[in-house]
């Protein structure tokens, strides 16, 4: 099962799935998952999505993501074998997509842009420098090391840290709230 990700699949996940992760986590919490269970469900959901041979047929990626996560949660509960039979039947019949009391809007391109900006701004200073040189100015890791006077292994560690922190940011920052956060950062006055 060691399918390495093709770049198009990584892009598809980045554009269509990752932005909805924060919403999925909140939704799972409201439906009874504990915080400790979320990471496992999310990691397994990504594994399931990456294993699909074809994603072109998925018209509503967000709904697909939610359904995938829900069925993974069901399997976890069934394996636990401590839940009453009636409860499992209820869960199995539950359609996660029709049950949307608060309409979580689809992210607009504009909102996504600002979430991305806010995410980069949230990185610690040195890590952010490395990340911006790598991703915005497209220097190789070696060139970043030369530019900043760091060892290549330090640069690689900063990239790993950035991936980790940015992942946490994307998982917890609500899409709509990103706008307010970015606004406060931008409008700070010096004098």
């Amino acid at each position: 099962m060691s399918t390495r990700l093709r770049p198009e699949r990584a892009q598809w996940l980045a554009t269509n799935i990752l932005p909805h992760e924060a919403g999925l986590r909140r939704w799972l919490l409201r439906r009874g998952s504990t915080p400790g269970e979320l990471d496992d469900i999310v990691q397994d959901s990504y594994a399931a999505l990456a294993s699909l041979s074809d994603v072109a047929h998925i018209g509503d990626p967000r709904a697909y993501f939610f359904r995938t996560a829900w069925s993974i949660r069901l399997r976890q509960i069934q394996r636990a074998k401590v839940v009453a039979i009636e409860a499992i039947a209820d869960l199995a019949a539950f359609d996660p997509i029709s049950d949307q009391p608060d309409a979580e809007r689809q992210l607009s391109g504009r909102q996504e842009l600002h979430r991305v900006s806010a995410a980069i701004d949230s990185l610690p200073a040195r890590c952010r420098d490395v990340f911006k040189l790598r991703k915005i100015e497209s220097l190789s890791q070696r060139e970043v090391a030369e530019r900043l006077g760091l060892s290549e292994s330090t640069v690689e560690k900063h990239v790993a840290k950035a991936v980790r922190l940015l992942g946490d940011f994307m998982a917890t920052e609500p899409a709509e709230g990103g706008r307010a956060g970015a606004g406060r950062a931008e409008m700070r006055s010096v004098i």
Binding site: M1, T15, D39, Q43, E112, L113, S140, S189
Partner: protein
């Protein structure tokens, strides 16, 4: 063992692998180790896939989804829906304001000229610690004296991160209008032939149009525009965060589009070089795009935009033609 592994430690390992892959090709031994790790637990594979998606989120040529909400709003660059403060000359104030424009000049302070070429953005630092970013085809002259710091924008666009120094006002002039700040960050730009503008990111600047006109203040988030020939017509607009971010994206060497048509986006790239993006079919040319792109990579933008719209790209040496799919 996977029983002891926390999701956090799995995510750490995944991030380490992604960073390793980002630095260059793996050795055979590393490939084998990665395969083994990925195969040993579906959560490993999931964390790896997720970390790869996180990194892909920050790729520069990414066309983002245009929802109905994006395309419903008209172009936000048009001022018609915003409060518009037009300022006109008041001759009676001329006498009391004349003092504002007097600055001590030290003819012996040296003048340094800087110019940029076709590169989308060039950074430099002045002797006082102020950091500048120059857009393409930009020329400035700089004189740092003991009682003032003076910049002249000859042409193009420049962004200033002014090192605070209350004893020495930092003034940027473009033709007959002077923009003064104490410690702040703002741009002065040639907007198009005969037009100029100032955008303030942090702090506040004073804009003095000269010829005895009263100065006006622009604060963080403000954009002042005027016609060079008639600086008394300075108009101010308060931009929201998104608009400010988009209009100053060039300071990062990037172009940001939020609902512009591909045609407009192609024209924006046109200012940065001779590479031509042509979209002969009118309906396709009016499709909208969102995303952020390196100003130096118009071909990358064209490929990404065409892919997202299901269009085809015909590559030529100095440009591309984007057409609807057959």
């Amino acid at each position: 063992m996977s029983a002891q592994e926390t999701p956090a430690s799995i995510a750490d390992t995944a991030a380490d692998w992604i960073a390793r892959l980002d630095s260059g090709p793996l050795t055979d031994a590393e490939n084998a180790a990665l395969d083994e790790w990925l195969d040993s637990d579906s959560r490993h594979f999931g964390a790896f896939v997720r970390a790869e998606a996180v990194l892909a989120s920050f790729d520069r040529a990414r066309v983002l989804p245009m929802s109905a909400e994006d395309s419903a709003e008209p172009h936000r660059t048009r001022p018609s829906r915003r409060t518009f403060i037009a300022w006109a000359a008041a001759a009676s104030m001329a006498a009391s304001i004349a003092g504002v424009m007097l600055v001590q000049r030290e003819p012996t302070a040296p003048v340094t000229r800087y110019a940029s070429g076709a590169e989308p953005m060039r950074q430099l630092e002045l002797a006082d610690g102020s950091r500048l970013k120059l857009g393409p085809q930009t020329e400035i002259s700089v004189r740092l004296a003991s009682r003032e710091r003076r910049i002249d924008l000859v042409r193009g666009a420049a962004f200033f991160d002014v090192a605070p120094d209350p004893a020495r006002p930092f003034t940027v002039s473009y033709h007959n209008v002077a923009v003064t700040a104490v410690g702040t960050s703002f741009s002065v730009e040639q907007a198009s032939a005969g037009e100029a503008r100032v955008l303030v990111r942090h702090g506040r600047v004073t804009i003095a149009p000269g010829r005895g006109q009263p100065p006006i203040y622009a604060n963080a988030g403000d954009r002042a525009t005027w016609t060079i020939a008639r600086p008394e017509t300075i108009a101010m607009m308060r931009l929201n965060v998104e608009e400010l971010h988009r209009e100053l994206a060039w300071t990062e060497g990037m172009l940001v589009f939020e609902g512009q048509t591909i045609e407009e986006a192609a024209a924006a790239f046109g200012r940065y070089g001779s590479f031509r993006i042509l979209i002969p079919e009118k309906r396709l040319a009016r499709r909208k795009v969102s995303g952020w792109f390196a100003a130096s990579d118009p071909r990358g933008f064209a490929v990404a935009a065409a892919a997202s719209l299901g269009a085809t790209v015909e590559h030529q040496r100095d440009g591309v033609i984007i057409r609807p799919a057959p």
